[in-house]
Symmetry: D2
Subunit: 344 residues, 4 copies
């Protein structure tokens, strides 16, 4: 029987991607959609400016949108996906958790909170049990689980695959697609024939979230990984797909061939939205490329290439679809993990 789900922030860019993934999903059924108060009471088709390149699912189009408030959402919902602006997320997600909902959230608020699991299922599924700590501390029946920032998700799985070599330092430069900023986040005059070498607070996210994702959870407490990450973030004129250049120094010696093998063999999971191959590794140094490789594994694979010895250790490039693997798909995958682990 399908799990009934609600989507907070259903009209935004990630909200639309969530609908695109959840509508055909065999284990989930969309039961509630929320948006800003001005859209409440309206049909979804009338308030969403639909810009995904497949039509709005018919049934979703006819659904009535609620305000983003636990009292306004139908009781008959088992799991909440949240893709709210972080300030809104910070204000209302705790209300949903308190009201008993389990929330799989893509919003950036509370990601680094000590009792909030920040999870990429293939990397640190065991962190999910931090929910017990969270429930104890906060007295919630529900729970709050976060997926990391899209730019973090892109490179952390490649680090996880190499963790046994001892991660020492990572310098990472990102080339990020405009969809990462939402529909109206980057104007055309800002980005055509241009690049912007700054994305507000993005660098900090890569630097801190990676340490938490790669950290160890002993059942009671989470300790951050020691890897030191320095990031520089850029916006470029691509629609979807974040590309990242990584310079990595490890404790143990690590050849390009060993790194490629470790990435290729890094296991995926059996969850419905997991790709068969988590990290696709290219031999062609010109790959991965956003337009050609972002949809690998249904948009849920990471791809890597250009693995080579660097002046300082190893360097390589990696790529992920930022609104699929990096946002909507990340939340859905966490939702699937929550179901599998019996947290509903």
């Amino acid at each position: 029987m399908a799990v009934r789900v609600g989507i907070l922030g259903a009209t935004g860019a990630v909200g639309q991607r969530l609908i695109g993934m959840l509508d055909p999903h065999p284990d989930f059924e969309i039961a509630a959609l929320t948006a800003s108060p001005s859209s409440a009471g309206e049909k979804y088709r009338d308030v969403a400016k639909w810009r995904v390149d497949s039509p709005i699912p018919q049934e979703v189009a006819e659904m009535t949108v609620s305000a983003t408030d636990p009292d306004e959402v139908t009781d008959d919902v088992d799991l909440i996906f949240s893709s709210l602006p972080s300030s809104v997320g910070a204000a209302v997600e705790p209300d949903f958790c308190e009201a008993g909902y389990v929330v799989s959230s893509n919003s950036s608020n509370a990601r680094m909170a000590e009792d909030v699991p920040l999870v990429i299922p293939e990397v640190n599924a065991d962190h999910l049990d931090l929910i017990e700590v969270q429930r104890d501390e906060r007295g919630w029946d529900g729970a709050l689980v976060k997926n990391p920032n899209c730019s973090t998700i892109t490179f952390v799985p490649t680090l996880a695959a190499l963790e046994e070599y001892g991660l020492r330092t990572v310098h990472v430069a990102t080339l990020q697609a405009v969809s990462g900023a939402g529909y109206d986040g980057v104007t055309s005059m800002e980005i055509i024939d241009n690049a912007i070498p700054h994305i507000g607070s993005e660098e900090e996210k890569l630097e801190t979230e990676s340490k938490k994702l790669l950290g160890e959870f002993d059942g009671a407490q989470l300790s951050l990984n020691d890897v030191e990450v320095g990031a520089s973030c850029n916006r470029i004129p691509t629609i979807d797909g974040h590309l990242e250049n990584v310079f990595l120094e490890t404790e143990a010696e690590l050849s390009p061939a060993e790194a490629a093998e470790a990435m290729r063999e890094y296991p995926s999971l059996d969850l419905y939205s997991s790709p068969d191959q988590l990290i696709e590794v290219f031999e062609d140094p010109e790959r991965p490329q956003p337009r050609l490789d972002r949809t690998l594994g249904g948009g849920m694979s990471i791809s890597a290439g250009g693995i080579q010895e660097s002046t300082f250790g190893l360097q390589y490039n990696c790529l992920a679809h930022n609104t699929m693997r990096g946002a909507a798909g990340a939340s859905v995958l966490n939702g699937e993990l929550l179901v599998e682990n019996g947290y509903l």
Copy 2:
């Protein structure tokens, strides 16, 4: 009286930029244009697919193109600018030098040769005297002087400005414009809504040329600078302007404010094409941007911004117009330096 100049490879992207700079130049007069054998004997207007956004200078349009061979070029030329494909440059530039021509070349061949000065006038004008060594060794009346690769020129002046702090390591990621590959170098299907994380042998150029440019010349021999540079190069969908993310570790402590001041105060020269301000430093972390800032100082300034403390030291971004400051303008500036220093 104007110095009469010839342009080798006059129909290419950099050749056209050279014409755009040299035609109105008060100290130079275009006296010869060369191109591939198939164009020899034709009028320039008929063989050049002119794509600069100002019209072909009338007189240049009517000039007859020669083959790229010292015997075919009118004797009455004092200085040669070369923007040939590197394989062609390697084959014919020595012939011109042997025939007595002083050649200011943008081609990548021979840049790292021990007796060939690789020069950015504001950075290492004193290396020009390597010409004496070169003439001794090769028995040339002419001389061969190189400017570095466009991506090297973009970040080396910022390093030169900080050299007193002791340069230890540099990690640099580049976001390079399509014009750097020449007119036909990048197809539209390759780059629209995309990025390519590899530019053949570009990374090596940044890593080695920077050590030579920042090296010391004792009058007899050039010793490379000890700075260790690791580079990762990307092509993005911009027309002109290379943007670079730099992570820098120095021997001495260096605050963002000190770095900004050192860059701002790094002196320009009095050469005709030198910008008033060599390095423009922005406070706004979203700058520099290729489309907004590439034409600063007539396309001859470097710009920098986003200077901040990094996990590992300092990080910042820099930008230069790749076909002006990074190619045609670099060669012209070297030509001006050759004239000023009496090498013609």
Copy 3:
């Protein structure tokens, strides 16, 4: 049992799309691939620069490429798809037909020849019987069938839907994607932040091919339609999808609502690659848009919108995926029609 097919020009942009459609096709089996002589004898994976955003089918990757010559292609092929440059097509397609092959060709040569059927299955399937005339005149066992130019295919179905109102004049302006020119047809420096108001001989194709497609075949001879078409063609910075602005004058009065209804009701076919809905009509005047609507119906639908009264009659916009519906898919559809009509 699957029809065994060969692809002439298999390494090009349309050739790759043909492979992408034919490999999973239930009724066709790829049995031969040809390319230029320099690629003959090589494995497909080694000579094709694969740029479709899905991987090369494994079996196709390992196939050996032949020269484009009927003597070099395995005998065991029933149907040929051709996507050759038109000069090559003009030279070798007749050889294949003479050797007994039925050729469904996307190449522009011979499209207007009196005994060559130019077919869009949903529009003029009956023209296929011109093959009888062709075989009589040329003494071929094989046959040559053409699909029109990608820009012609985009607007002709909409005219066919309105034909009962009497087509008098059509002014059409096109905004065409770069893929229409092949991989290397448009360089990035030509088209980023730009548009090119000319595509060689394209305007003539729209003006003449439309008259043939809408013409009447009486079993012996084809008479051209009287509609007068004037076209103006532009290249713009989109990857896939040709958008066209149509101004139409008809004999009978025709309201926007009637036009929309006629387009919506214009029937599709039961062929495997036919879309369920041939012409998708949008109410939103901002649609269709290339990026959002080019993949409707698996890339085989036409879409239309902005239907309104004009100063001179009716005006509307239409769009089709130029390398799917406009090229590879058009040839495949003609191949399906040839099979269904017993021409193999």
Copy 4:
């Protein structure tokens, strides 16, 4: 002595272009800047997000912005340039005229009002005398003069050049740059790898404004030109420069050569911002192109090309820089004409 000017809506895209043109202008001196109430009292540098590719003029940066209200603007201003959103323009421009200011406006409100001159100086400078009628009717000491929409300005001068052949019908399709919609008008997700076949109420502007611009003013009343114009408007991913495809039918026969000659000989004016050559005509059918030709004549020339016989008469393409010739430059030119004709 310089005329002191004020700019209404000084922070917008056209406002910034106005500042870029007026600051170095020998006959004008910027004395007042207005913006929305929230910016009033602030320094210009602090409220304008400056995105022109040259720095903010120093003095302008330090000016204090007023509210857009005649009582708030310093009395010491002789001429007002207005680039307000049309709803704001409709509300406040009459107040400025009533308060005695002569207003040269780019805003779209009131362009078709019977007593408001709509002027392109090189086309219909004599319409300026409609000011007398306007002052009589409205009792203003000031005056309101409009320039047409950017897409109208692009093609009307070419029609004016051909007017002696008798203009009968014009079908025009536009390919418009994103800057025409203002900084935030088109998001990057809307337009990268895309085109939008609709611009709200733009088609009507081309159709009606052209009839007024080409109309005749007998000293008392303006009669519209009989030319019938049908327009179809598209937004494409270019920064600046509107390209238009024109199909023209004339009363008298008109060859491409005659049309080219008439355009080339159509006179410019002696105003400071007039280009030497009003209409640049290209022989190369691939020109004009937005990126290459938009800055001809300092951005104030129109360019034309592809002039050829069409199925229905003549067809050609034309182009103008939409924020220079099509907006800021159009208003400045009207300001220069107002000064020359003694209307201040």
